[in-house]
């Protein structure tokens, strides 16, 4: 069933249009940086951007940091929100279930396909960003990069940490996917599941800026999303990253369990 869902994913024109749109922003930023050579002042603007001016090979990280807080969650909320509710609305859900495709199996396949979509998007963004970054912004001399803490990092260290960061970003998106998938088993319209998920994420982001909500903040889903930046300090600041991982794992477990429990006992009436 996972293979079937993946086939549907790569065949869908929407998948590629979405990825293309997401990919546009970092590319545009790279072009603007090249043309103007004006980076954000250190400590402001998207992560890594000031470093990028010195070393174009770091641009993939900057690109991921750009799409992670907004574009990627929107795309995930749309794709995962549609997972069950979309099939239900199209009427294809009942024909899948009587084939028969087990309900648990279907949920797992849908989740796998959403994560494959995220991976695909992240890879496309990273690869384009690498190409654009090295072409437009050029290499740093000396084959090493500078960490946020000012010390030198070897290319190998950069690669390892980049992979860790990608994994971390995937886990964060898995959290979003779990919420959207749960809502997708509850509501009839895919749009409602998507908007519900986005509303939760926006509320979370909003509460993070509010001092009065400080007691809630460690539990908000978006709290540690950008903590992967800490992976590029020397030595790595694990504290927030570990908290982020634990928090996302809890979100994923709770919402997937809820989605499963709800879907297993649901009457399929449309």
């Amino acid at each position: 069933m996972i293979a079937v869902e993946l086939r549907k994913l790569v065949r869908s024109r929407r998948t590629w249009i979405t990825i293309l749109l997401i990919d546009t922003l970092p590319t545009l930023v790279a072009v603007l940086l090249t043309l103007t050579d004006v980076g954000p002042r250190p400590g402001t603007g998207p992560a890594f951007l000031s470093a990028v001016l010195k070393d174009g090979t770091l641009f993939p990280l900057a690109a991921i940091a750009m799409v992670l807080p907004l574009f990627l969650p929107v795309a995930v909320a749309v794709t995962a929100g549609e997972a069950i509710a979309g099939e239900s609305q199209a009427g294809t859900l009942r024909y899948m279930l009587i084939r028969p495709v087990g309900r648990t199996r279907l949920l797992v396949a849908k989740l796998a396909s959403v994560m494959a979509f995220v991976l695909l998007t992240v890879l496309v963004v990273a690869v384009t960003a690498y190409v654009v970054g090295t072409l437009l912004l050029g290499h740093a001399t000396g084959g090493s990069s500078t960490s946020f803490s000012g010390t030198a990092l070897s290319s190998q260290q950069i690669l390892l940490r980049t992979l860790l960061a990608l994994g971390y970003a995937m886990l964060s998106m898995l959290g979003v996917a779990a919420i959207a998938l749960f809502l997708s088993t509850v509501v009839h319209a895919p749009l409602a599941a998507t908007m519900g998920t986005l509303a939760a994420l926006i509320a979370s982001t909003l509460l993070l800026t509010l001092d009065a909500a400080s007691s809630l903040q460690p539990y908000l889903p978006t709290r540690y999303w950008l903590s992967f930046v800490d992976l590029f300090r020397d030595p790595i600041l694990w504290h927030n990253v570990v908290h982020g991982v634990v928090l996302q794992v809890i979100y994923v477990a709770v919402f997937l369990a809820a989605a499963w429990a709800n879907f297993m006992t649901k009457d399929i009436k449309d």
Partner: protein, 302 residues
């Protein structure tokens, strides 16, 4: 093939299906009749494990449902309400996609089976157009093709001729009868009396969630014990059959008698010219209307 015992489904305070005891036998073409909202679709969905019963039990192909769905459903083909397909794929791609879901029915035979069923439902010459461009009738045929894809032992069809023109309806009817002679049991849910009358051997009638009739069609259409006689000599015949005539008009009579041959010779001997003489039968419509109340789509003032 299908047996339910006390099958019940409640949605909140509404009882959609109430203590249903269905009995569909192997080789039947079973017509499942009922007004809109009488619970037909809910029953079909319960049989297929889509809607979970509140109470009661059911077996399909001899195994309990929905717990044995993994073994039972591959041998069941179904059309549940409207057909559904992925709009941006072609009909063939849709069938291929649905066939690759669930327990495998043989990947090697897939292309051949798809060609076969497309031919069967009259879409043999179909091109690469996406389903989005299909007419209602073509979608219906594609839905049927999807149901037939795995050569099922049992077909569960909900309003299968929806959206088809008279030619198409006849074509599908012939296809179903042909499948039935080859051994497929057919469970056909419909609100069209004529369709059921032309196709089915056994009839179940649902009224507001309750099964009010379950019988062989021939038994329901049994003679009423009256004979219909058409003759130009109505007055003469009435005089002859004094007391037996229950109704008459200018050219025909209804005579209480269970001996058509005897009546005919009696009339002819007396010089009554008989144009037609036939036993009156109960019609399915009378039987159904007598057993049921108006459908739930009629909302009368209390």
């Amino acid at each position: 093939m299908i047996q339910t015992i006390g099958l019940t489904k409640r949605f909140g305070s509404i009882v959609a299906v109430d203590g249903l005891d269905l009995d569909v036998r192997e080789g039947d073409v079973y017509g499942f009749l009922g007004a809109n909202g009488s619970g037909k679709t809910t029953t079909v969905r319960m049989l297929l494990g889509l809607v979970l019963a509140t109470a009661g039990s059911m077996t399909v192909l001899g195994r309990s449902m929905p717990s044995s769905g993994r073994e039972v459903l591959p041998q069941v083909g179904a059309l549940v309400e409207a057909p559904a397909a992925y709009d941006d794929l072609s009909g063939r791609a849709n069938l291929s996609l649905f066939d690759s879901m669930g327990p495998s029915a043989g990947r090697a035979s897939r292309a051949g089976r798809i060609d076969d069923v497309l031919e069967q439902v009259g879409l043999g010459g179909i091109d690469r157009r996406p389903v989005r461009a299909y007419s209602l009738g073509m979608r219906q045929r594609l839905g049927l093709a999807n149901a037939l894809l795995r050569k099922p032992k049992l077909l569960i069809l909900d309003e299968p001729t929806n959206g088809l023109d008279p030619q198409g309806i006849r074509e599908i009817r012939q296809l179903l009868l042909e499948l039935n002679t080859q051994g497929t049991t057919i469970f056909l849910s419909s609100h069209l009396l004529a369709e059921v009358e032309q196709l089915c051997t056994r009839v179940g009638v649902l009224d507001r969630g309750r099964l009010v009739i379950q019988e062989q069609l021939e038994v329901l259409q049994r003679p009423t014990g009256r004979l219909y006689v058409r003759t130009p000599d109505v007055a003469l015949a009435r005089g002859l059959l004094d007391g037996q005539v229950e109704d008459h008009d200018v050219a025909s009579l209804l005579v209480r008698s269970d001996d058509p041959a005897g009546l005919n010779s009696q009339l002819v001997a007396a010089g009554v010219r008989v144009e037609m003489l036939t036993p009156e039968r109960h019609t399915l419509e009378d039987v159904v209307l007598e057993a049921t109340e108006p459908g739930s789509d009629r909302v009368a003032r209390a």
